[in-house]
């Protein structure tokens, strides 16, 4: 069945467990609609180019940069912003470890870390690094962010991302298959 949206119109979005109706153009990004129509300003506009991660939200539980998804693409899918997280372990860990400086990147980091802890609660270090490289903290507060993630995943702080020496530039990786 062909779905079509030929101009500005009403869209029903499922945001933080509530059905919300917005008026959007087909070319509007989800980031823009969340902030300007729903007042959900936890997702931050940073680069608006998919690089910084400050605008990350959950789509069906997976972290997606809301500057890289059209609002119309989110129809029929569960959207969770940082406002939809309430007293989660990663939020408590961020407070406990004081894992923020200016705070602009914090909501994006919390979203990614929450998704990681939910989908891969026993994530190994490679997986943690892989996921957290999606986000940038220009205050360079990576050590405390790493410690907060380590707290939730149960990994020692010394093994948390950013807690030790910077990750080496990636080299060869052998694949042992099947």
């Amino acid at each position: 069945m062909l779905f079509e949206m030929r101009g500005p119109g009403a869209l029903e979005l499922d945001v933080n467990g509530e059905k919300r109706t917005v008026l959007a153009r087909p070319a509007d990004t989800l980031l823009h609609v969340l902030r300007s129509q729903l007042g959900l300003t936890g997702a931050k506009p940073g680069c608006e180019n998919g690089d910084c991660g400050a605008c990350t939200v959950l789509i069906e539980g997976w972290p997606v940069k809301s500057c890289l998804i059209l609002a119309v693409e989110a129809v029929g899918r569960q959207v969770t912003t940082v406002e939809g997280l309430r007293d989660t372990p990663i939020q408590r860990a961020f407070v406990q470890k004081q894992a923020f400086n200016c705070g602009y990147c914090t909501s994006g980091f919390i979203i990614v870390c929450h998704s990681l802890a939910t989908i891969h609660p026993n994530a190994d270090q490679e997986t943690v690094d892989h996921w957290l490289q999606s986000n940038i903290c220009r205050c360079t507060g990576y050590r405390e962010i790493g410690e907060a993630v380590g707290l939730v995943l149960g990994t020692p702080a010394s093994e948390a991302p950013g807690a030790g020496a910077p990750s080496p530039v990636d080299g060869a990786q052998e694949s042992t298959l099947c």
């Binding site: 062909l2 087909p26 990350t56 890289l68």
Partner: protein, 279 residues
Amino acid sequence: VIGFDFEYYKPGSIEEAVRTFAHLDAEGRNPFYYGGGTEIITMARMNNVVPGAVIDLKGIPECRALGHGDGRLIIGAGATLAEIHESGLFPLLGRAGGRVADHSVQVKVTLGGNLAGTIVYREASLPLLVADCEAVVAGAGGLRVVPFQDVFGGRLNLPRGDFLVQVNIARESTCLPGFHAKKTRLEKIGYPVLAAVMVRDRQGRYRAAFSGLCSSPFRSVELEAALNDARLEPIRRIDLAIASLPAPVLDDTEASAGYRLFVLRNTLEEALDALGGVA
């Protein structure tokens, strides 16, 4: 913010997608097929592309396939790089796709989008180029199945209005001993100075594909012949392979041509070591 308007269509079937494209194209509305949309959105924001309409292929079940059938692994063009990575069904493809941009972007980027995009590296193509891989393509004439290399010459190259529905890979190709490396200028996330995939097939012969080295990804018969020349020591095979490159080496702000060749030499040595030395 995208500063112009376009129309959005999401067909539920292959036929509907082809028909919608043909209709919009005939009306001069410059339709684009839309997978993950990451490149279209970022380029539209800068007015580098100006589609009049986008046709989102993610509503087509065949484009979202990811699993085995008839002894082959079927991957829909609308499967995301993260889904492929998480599935573990083709580890080498998962690993190559797992180094495109960053993880949150991989949740959005589709296999078809990576192969068809304008960013020249198209790293997800490398494991497909060295596998026994077919492409399922939709067009006005219906579906056709062709060798992957017939539609991918460095970039997905299809007649206007056609789109990639799926790739399917011989199951044994997904299990070959394999090597993947991506070398970047500084950070782990970045464009490749060199991305390389090498496998050793059931006959012990090496197959190799590269991105970031020349203007587009490639697999070269001549280069592989050099790597598999049993008369030569490994170091001479590598010399001959480098002398067999099919196109000029990139020389740009990511890396000079000389540095890329230095990285290529080291990477080939690592790959041969990792895959058990010379055949």
